[in-house]
C-alpha cells in the first residue's frame, strides 16, 4: 500500500454514527410476499377497497416485470420472499399526545437529533417521523391546519382525505412505472402526505424523517405532495438506519404535483447505513421520485445530498408540462469504501419556454463507484425550451470510479441545451500543500470537498446545510488516500 493510500485509508475509515439499534418491541408480519400479505397489510391499516385494489393491481404488474439492469451497478440477487414487508412499533398506531409514545422511541429520535416535542423543535420545522413502516408522530399539525395545510402520515391521509389521495396518488408515478415503483405500490406501508392550498405560503419547513429499525424488514414508504395554485412549500427528508450485517431494502416513491405558479423545493439528506468498510451490510436504496410541473409558471427544485446506502438507484425527475415552468436539480453524491451510486435526473420538457438546470457533483473514494445518469428530453411542442447541465466528478484515490451518462433527446430545434462536465482528483500534492500550511489531511479533504460541493450545499435550507457539510466530511473519513 502506498503512503497515499495509507493516508486516504486513515481519513476515510470513520464509523457510521447512527448505527445503533433501539430496543423497541415491534409487531411484524411473517416474511414473504404474496396476495395474502398485501391483503394483510391493507387490513392492518384498515384501508378502503380502492386502496387494496390499487395495491393488488400493482402487485400483479410487478410479478410480470423484471428488475432493471441498465444501471452501472452490481446488484446482488434480492430474495423478495426473505423480506418482512410490515413492521410497526408495538403500540397504538396513532398517538393522541407524546405521553403515549414509547419513551424508547422518543429517545431514538432524540438521539438522531429529531426531537418530536414541539417545544424543543427547531423553530420553523414541522416533522413527520416514520419508524419502520409506521408514522410515529407529526408535529405542528395544528399550526399548519390553521392555514389549511394538510401535513400528516400517508395512512391518515387515506382515512381522512381519501378524495385527495385518490386524485393524485399514482398520477405522477404510475404503479406500472418501473419494477421498484410497482413493488412499492403493492406493499407501501406509510409515508407523508402534504397538501398546500391555493395561495398559501407554507410558514415552516416541512420534513419527514425516516428510520429503519427492525431487522430483516424492507422499508417502502411513499410521499405525496400537492402544491395548489400560487402556493409555496419547502420540504426536507432525512433518513438513517442501524448498522446490520445483512442488506436491507428501501424502495420509496415520491410524487409531487405543482399547479399554476406553485413552487416546491424538495431537499433530501440521504444517510442510510452504507455498509461497513469491507462492503458488508448496508441499505439498498431504490427510489422513484418525480415531480409534475402541471401548471403554468410552476417550479420544482430538487436538492439532494446522498452519502449513505450500499447501493443507490435514484433519479429525481421533473415533467415540465406547464408553459414557462422551471425545474432545478442540485445533487452531491458521495460514495466511499464499496458503496455504489447510480443517480441523476430526468428533465422532460413538454410546455413552451420551459427551463431546467442540472448541477451534479459526484465524489468517489475508496473502491466505490459513482455514476451520474441524466436525461434531458425536449418534446416537439416545447418551443423555446432551455437546459443547462453541469456534471462534475471528484476522485479521491485511484481505486474508485466516476462515470457520467448524459442522454439528450431533442425534438424541437428552438431548444438551447448546454452541457459541461469535469473530472478532477484530490491529489496527494494538494493534500501535502495544505499539510505544509498546518492543515491536517482530514481538514484538507473536508475543505476541498466542501468547496467543490458549495454550489449544491447552498441550495439547502440553512439549518440543514451545516449538517450536510459535516456529513460530507464524515462520510469521507477514513477514505483519504
Amino acid at each position: 500500500m502506498s503512503d497515499q493510500d495509507t493516508i486516504l485509508n486513515d481519513v476515510t475509515q470513520s464509523e457510521y454514527k447512527y448505527g445503533f439499534v433501539s430496543a423497541i418491541e415491534s409487531e411484524t408480519i411473517p416474511k414473504g410476499l404474496n396476495e395474502g400479505v398485501i391483503r394483510l397489510i391493507s387490513a392492518k391499516k384498515n384501508e378502503p377497497d380502492w386502496m387494496l385494489e390499487f395495491r393488488l393491481t400493482a402487485y400483479r404488474n410487478w410479478l410480470k416485470m423484471k428488475m432493471p439492469e441498465w444501471a452501472h451497478l452490481k446488484i446482488p440477487e434480492i430474495n423478495y420472499q426473505d423480506i418482512i414487508y410490515y413492521a410497526a412499533p408495538k403500540q397504538q398506531a396513532k398517538y393522541e399526545s407524546l405521553d403515549q409514545v414509547d419513551p424508547e422511541l422518543l429517545e431514538t429520535f432524540n438521539k438522531l437529533g429529531i426531537p418530536l416535542d414541539e417545544q424543543k423543535m427547531l423553530s420553523g420545522v414541522a416533522v413527520d417521523a416514520v419508524m419502520d413502516s409506521v408514522s410515529v408522530k407529526t408535529t405542528f399539525r395544528d399550526t399548519l391546519a390553521e392555514k389549511g395545510i394538510i401535513f400528516c402520515s400517508f395512512s391518515e391521509a387515506v382515512q381522512e382525505h381519501p378524495d385527495l389521495v385518490r386524485e393524485y396518488m399514482g398520477s405522477v408515478v404510475p404503479p406500472t412505472d418501473n419494477y421498484f415503483a410497482a413493488l412499492n405500490s403493492a406493499v407501501f406501508s406509510d409515508g407523508s402526505f402534504c397538501y398546500i392550498p391555493k395561495g398559501v405560503r407554507c410558514p415552516m419547513e416541512l420534513s419527514t424523517y425516516f428510520r429503519i429499525n427492525a431487522a430483516n424488514t424492507g422499508q417502502f414508504e411513499r410521499t405525496l405532495l400537492v402544491a395548489d395554485d400560487d402556493s409555496y412549500v419547502s420540504y426536507l427528508e432525512g433518513c438513517t438506519a442501524p448498522m446490520r450485517d445483512e442488506n436491507q431494502l428501501h424502495a420509496a416513491i415520491v410524487e409531487i404535483v405543482a399547479k399554476t405558479n406553485a413552487q416546491v423545493k424538495y431537499s433530501t439528506v440521504q444517510n442510510w447505513y452504507p455498509g461497513d468498510k469491507n462492503g458488508k451490510g448496508g441499505i439498498y436504496n431504490f427510489v422513484t421520485k418525480r415531480g409534475l410541473c402541471q401548471g403554468k409558471g410552476s417550479k420544482i427544485s430538487w436538492s439532494q445530498v446522498e452519502t449513505g446506502s450500499a447501493i443507490t438507484w435514484k433519479y429525481p425527475s421533473t415533467i415540465l408540462l406547464g408553459d414557462n415552468s422551471v425545474s432545478e436539480f442540485y445533487s452531491v453524491a458521495v460514495t466511499n469504501h464499496h458503496q455504489q451510486a447510480d443517480t441523476g435526473t430526468k428533465m422532460i420538457h413538454i410546455g413552451k419556454n420551459t427551463k431546467s438546470t442540472i448541477v451534479s457533483k459526484g465524489i468517489s473514494a475508496g473502491q466505490s463507484n459513482n455514476s451520474y445518469r441524466g436525461l434531458v428530453k425536449i418534446s416537439k411542442r416545447a418551443e423555446g425550451a432551455r437546459n443547462f447541465s453541469q456534471c462534475d466528478s471528484l476522485l479521491l484515490g485511484d481505486k474508485c470510479g466516476a462515470h457520467t451518462f448524459p442522454y439528450i433527446e431533442c425534438e424541437n430545434n428552438s431548444a438551447i441545451l448546454e452541457h459541461e462536465a469535469t473530472t478532477s482528483k484530490i491529489g496527494e500534492d494538494q493534500i501535502f500543500y495544505c499539510n505544509q500550511r498546518g492543515i491536517s489531511t482530514e481538514d484538507a479533504i473536508g475543505m476541498i470537498v466542501n468547496g467543490y460541493a458549495k454550489q449544491v450545499l447552498n441550495t439547502l435550507p440553512m439549518e440543514f446545510a451545516v449538517e450536510a457539510q459535516k456529513l460530507l466530511q464524515i462520510s469521507l473519513e477514513g477514505s483519504v488516500g
Binding site: 494538494q430 495544505c434 499539510n435 500550511r437 498546518g438 458549495k454
Partner: protein, 250 residues
C-alpha cells in the same frame, strides 16, 4: 535551529539525497545552489515531510525536536515553511478560507484561541502589503488560474501570514518579473529578524543581490559538495558548475 546529519532519502528505492549535513542558526540566511536534478527540491520536500520520499538514514532536528518523526502539519505548526517551487492549485477553496484555517491551526497548536474575523481581516490587509499582492488574488481559490509569478508572490504572502521560524524558498525567484523579484525579495527581508532563518534555493545571483546570504552551499548529486560565503555564488555565476563537477569526480 535546524540540524541535519547524514540525511539520506529517496523515492521508489532510488537514492536522491546521499548524506546531507547542514546546520542553520537563528538569524541566518543560507543559499543552496546546484545544477538541475541535484536534489534541492527533494531536500526541501523531505524536510517538510512529503510522504512521497522515504528517509533511509540520518537525522534532522528542528528546535530540538526530531523533525523526521513529525507529521507534515506539525512541522508547519512548529514553524517550518516551504515556499513551493511549483505551488499547487486547490479549486473551490478560497484563499481567505484557506489562510484562516491555516492561521487558526497554527494558533491552536500554540494554545491560542482562533482569531476573530476582524483581527484576521486586518492581518490579511497588512500582510498583503508586504508583497504588494493584488486584492483580486486573495478573493480567488488557492492558486487557481494564477500566473506563474502570481503563484510565487502568493507563497511569500502566506509566509508573511504564518510568520515561520524557518522558511525554505524553493526557486521563489523563477517566474518573477524584474519588479516582482525586487518586491518579493524586499518582502522576505522585511520578515527577517534575529529569531528566524531562511534557506534560499536559487539558480541565480540576481536574487542573492537582494537577499544576501551568510552561507552558500552547492548541492550536487545528492551531496553538499562545497560551502562558502556569499562570494561563492558570484564565482558560480562567472564559472558555471563544470569546475565543481570536475572537482567532485576526482
Amino acid at each position: 535551529m535546524l540540524h541535519i546529519k547524514n540525511l539520506k532519502a529517496g523515492v521508489d528505492g532510488k537514492e536522491i539525497l546521499k548524506g546531507i549535513n547542514l546546520e542553520v542558526k537563528p538569524g541566518e540566511v543560507h543559499a543552496i545552489m546546484g545544477p538541475n536534478g541535484s536534489g534541492k527540491s527533494t531536500l526541501s520536500a523531505v524536510l517538510a515531510g512529503n510522504g512521497r520520499f522515504t528517509v533511509t538514514d540520518g537525522e534532522a532536528t528542528f528546535n530540538g525536536k526530531n523533525l523526521l518523526e513529525m507529521a507534515p502539519e506539525d512541522r508547519a505548526r512548529e514553524g517550518l515553511f516551504l515556499s513551493f517551487q511549483y505551488p499547487v492549485e486547490i479549486p473551490g477553496v478560497s484563499m481567505v478560507n484557506f489562510m484562516k484555517t491555516a492561521v487558526n491551526e497554527h494558533r491552536k497548536y500554540q494554545g491560542l484561541e482562533p482569531m476573530s474575523a476582524g483581527d484576521f481581516l486586518k492581518m490579511l490587509r497588512d500582510k498583503k502589503q508586504v508583497v504588494e499582492i493584488d486584492d483580486r488574488l486573495t478573493s480567488r481559490s488557492v492558486n487557481e488560474g494564477f500566473s506563474g509569478g502570481e503563484k510565487k508572490k502568493n507563497e511569500i504572502f502566506q509566509m508573511a501570514m504564518l510568520e515561520p521560524k524557518l522558511s525554505i524558498l524553493d526557486e521563489t525567484d523563477s517566474g518573477l518579473d524584474i519588479d516582482a523579484l525586487r518586491i518579493v525579495a524586499n518582502g522576505v527581508n522585511k520578515l527577517k529578524n534575529a529569531n528566524n532563518a531562511t534557506i534560499v534555493i536559487t539558480h541565480y545571483q540576481r536574487l542573492l543581490d537582494y537577499i544576501v546570504p551568510d552561507v552558500v552551499h552547492i548541492l550536487y548529486n545528492g551531496l553538499i559538495v562545497k560551502t562558502g560565503g556569499k562570494e561563492l555564488a558570484l564565482e558560480l555565476e562567472a564559472k558555471g558548475y563544470d569546475w565543481i563537477k570536475e572537482a567532485v569526480k576526482v
